[in-house]
Amino acid sequence: MKVTAQPSGDTQTFLLDGELDASSAVVLDAELNKPELLSYKKILIDCQRLSYISSAGLGVFISHLQRLQDANVKLVFFNMQEKVFNVFEILGLDSLMNIVQTEQEAQAA
């Protein structure tokens, strides 16, 4: 699992590459835990190369979402593969999280 951070203005984009499981979730958790993230208006998660997510991966996003919302930082997912989106759907997270199809939609969200 590789996590690449791309800051641009008031937006921080994270590119996820690989499989997000109980072993690799700690890498992403450390990135989302950085205090400076709360200075951005928007955190975008580019999921194009995210090929798998387990409950441990979902847990990373769930554990940070309220903290980001409280700081008025939007968390938006885009470019999500169907099989990964399906995992969000199984738990009903697709209606609780901001998931859009394209980067343009994410920028406008």
């Binding site: 499981d21 798998y52 441990a56 769930i62 554990s63 399906n86 995992v87």
Partner: protein, 138 residues
């Protein structure tokens, strides 16, 4: 079609488990979303055995047996440690809005497993914990 895999109890081996399940199912079933669901269910159970039942003790090991007959999938995961690990067979139904409010990290794995598989049973055999998963594919 039957396949077997033995792994040590380290979370570093979860990738090997997923590759094993994925290769087994993709050879017989082309639906990528369905295959990913089963991969996820097995990954969640194996991760629970490794992390919670064995506390990542790499001297312990798990056996994974997969069998596919006429679209009926049976998966048996055997924990060879002598500590019994028998989660409730009642399907959990987490309130995800509350999980978000609380910032919870865990507690969703078995909910995913129970929603994906047709049947999930934990039981004891020869002082070992067995998890048996079944699902009708297609």
């Amino acid at each position: 079609m039957t396949r077997h895999l033995r792994i040590q109890c380290s979370r570093q081996n979860l990738q090997q488990v997923r590759d094993f399940v994925r290769d087994f199912l993709l050879a017989a079933h082309g639906n990528e979303v369905l295959v990913n669901q089963v991969v996820l269910a097995v990954d969640e159970v194996v991760a629970n055995f490794i992390i919670h039942a064995n506390e990542e003790d790499a001297s312990q090991y798990l056996d994974l047996l997969m069998q596919l007959r006429d679209h009926n999938l049976d998966v048996e995961i055997e924990d060879h440690s002598n500590t019994l690990f028998l989660p409730s067979n009642v399907a959990p139904s987490p309130d995800m809005s509350e999980y978000i409010r609380q910032g919870r990290k865990g507690g969703m794995g078995m909910a995913l497993v129970s929603r994906i598989m047709d049947k999930v049973v934990f039981f004891e055999r020869n002082s070992h914990t067995i998890c048996h998963l079944t699902k009708q594919l297609g």
